[in-house]
Amino acid sequence: MAIMPIEWGKVREYATATAAARPAYLDDPNAPIPPTFLATVIHWSTIGETVRAPEVAKACATVGIEPDVRNLLSLEQEYFFHGPVPRAGETLHNSERLYDVRIKEGRQGPMVLVRFLVSFHDDQGLLRAECRYTSAYVRKEAS
């Protein structure tokens, strides 16, 4: 598992960047993280490796879409928190798992929907948060 130490300075920076510069984030060395803060895990780990899994490539081949990052759209992110919201000073341990690949007919032709889950455990091994990502490979229309 990859590690993600939660740093107070990063919480301050993220809160300020999202118009949430409030004392709970700025003045507490053990500040709680903002609801979408776990997006910053990409400073620590490469997220989305599972979109290159063989079953994704196979689904793309079925509908003639090239599984290239230029054809990849991020559609949705959903965070779940279990127990107290993680705080600055804690270290989380993250792992990623592909859990759904399906072909969907969209308005602009077929797309391959890819869903993957990133889990965040604490030092005690407790599951503290999860993020479900939904991305799609789409066929780029000639414009």
Partner: protein, 134 residues
């Protein structure tokens, strides 16, 4: 104190006009340095009129709007779906409506439908969130 019955709408909050500074500051903070959000030439080369904002910046603004009402430690679920791109100069309006009040274990919770729209009404982020009530 807002009366939190089903159907209650929270007071709206406006963000923007969106600037390049907002976008690059969010990109640096989040670590997502996708150049489509700050390189106009690159965005135009694939058919966009200009570089467009990061979807997660809109999600972050919606999160800021919610924590302002329900506190920084009460989020239990936070979902955002990106429906349209945002450009520099756009003005955005965050809104939320109470969908239900329920109990999960020994916690009282609130589910919200949350939205971020351009000031002309176009929906850019559609979402759903749950907060613990203390």
């Amino acid at each position: 104190m807002i009366d939190l019955a089903r159907g209650t709408r929270l007071p709206e909050r406006t963000f923007g006009p969106v600037t390049m500074t907002d976008i690059v500051r969010y990109q640096g903070a989040s670590g997502d340095m996708n150049p489509m959000h700050h390189d106009d030439e690159l965005a135009r080369s694939v058919g966009y009129p200009a570089a467009f904002s990061a979807g997660m910046l809109g999600a972050g603004w919606l999160a800021a709007y919610c924590t302002e009402h329900f506190g920084e430690e009460s989020v239990r679920r936070f979902r955002t779906r990106f429906t349209q791109v945002v450009y520099r100069g756009d003005r955005l309006v965050a809104s939320a409506e109470v969908v239900r009040l329920f109990r999960q274990g020994d916690e009282r919770r609130l589910e919200l439908a949350i939205q971020l729209r351009k000031d002309d009404g176009a929906l850019v982020v559609d979402g759903s969130a749950e907060f613990a009530l203390t």
